[in-house]
């Protein structure tokens, strides 16, 4: 099996926050923590685009590299998870992550930093599958039920795809072929020659 991956199709995302709600609801994520959130550019202007962002389960995850207590691990499917019992809530992972995925609950009158919480790809954590401890600390383990992350399955426009990297890549490829555009948002030209790769905005 390939690695588990997310991909968000900015052409389809309608900023409905369905993925955010699905995640909060599925895992009973505490107040003040959003494992998934939406980022919108050019809000209210022509060319507005939204993208759903959470932990991208990096191949070479910076959070793992900086963790002083080594509480991170990676599953066979490439899902980056962590042990909350070991986490000291230092927040290094938050600073290291380019996506701002790790979050520490700010519970308490003095803004105490709780143990880090982040997207688990709906794969739970290092507790017995479907146990009360697992649900309480990490949320539901949908992957062990043979299901995909709730955010991706809930997405009404199927902008957010999640699952086996090879499958979702083929779905996205098919979309690009059908609509005849979208290739320009990836690759060298987009990264290093933005002027020529800039998509036309029709008003």
């Amino acid at each position: 099996m390939a690695r588990m991956k997310f991909i968000c199709d900015a052409e389809r995302c309608i900023e409905c926050n369905g993925c955010v709600t699905a995640c909060k609801s599925e895992h009973e994520v505490p107040w003040g923590v959003n494992r998934r959130r939406l980022v919108t550019v050019n809000d209210g202007k022509p060319g507005e685009r939204s993208i759903s962002v959470a932990c991208m389960h990096c191949t070479d995850a910076p959070c793992m590299a900086v963790c002083p207590v080594d509480c991170f691990y990676k599953t066979e499917e490439g899902v980056v998870l962590h042990d909350k019992d070991l986490c000291i809530g230092c927040g290094y992972c938050f600073y290291a992550c380019p996506f701002g995925a790790p979050q520490c609950p700010q519970a308490g009158a003095f803004g105490l930093r709780g143990k880090m919480d982040k997207c688990t790809f709906c794969a739970g954590g290092p507790e017995e599958d479907h146990s009360v401890a697992e649900i309480k600390k990490y949320g539901r383990n949908r992957l062990a039920e043979g299901k995909l992350p709730a955010c991706a399955e809930m997405c009404s426009t199927k902008a957010l795809l999640g699952g086996d990297g090879e499958v979702i890549q083929s779905i996205y490829k098919q979309r690009v072929k059908r609509r005849g555009k979208g290739e320009e948002v990836w690759g060298w030209a987009m990264a290093y020659n933005r002027k020529s790769a800039k998509p036309e905005v029709k008003v």
Partner: protein, 90 residues
């Protein structure tokens, strides 16, 4: 006097260029930032996703279940647009 200055300035210029390049390029060196010690997970051991009651350790079954579920995200398979465009034979 001006000729004297220009004569020595011309001779000194390669030295100045060398010094300038040496100083300027010192910032171009990249220090290796790779962690020298391998990070080893220190937490509790986690079971595999397919080791639960539903799949009972059958990895292949679990993988195929996930792949099939992933494919449902493709609405082109669920409702084939190409079929809609086909002319009605009747």
């Amino acid at each position: 006097m001006s000729g004297f200055r220009s004569k020595y300035a011309w001779k000194a210029s390669p030295v100045l260029v060398f010094c300038a390049l040496t100083l300027g390029l010192t910032a171009c060196g990249e220090i290796d930032q790779t962690a020298k010690v391998d990070k080893i997970y220190a937490g509790k051991k986690d079971s595999k996703a397919y080791e639960g009651t539903k799949f009972a350790g059958d990895k292949a079954k679990w993988e195929s279940a996930l792949v099939e579920r992933s494919k449902t995200q493709n609405e082109y398979i669920r409702t084939d647009v190409a079929d809609v465009k086909k002319p009605n034979p009747n």
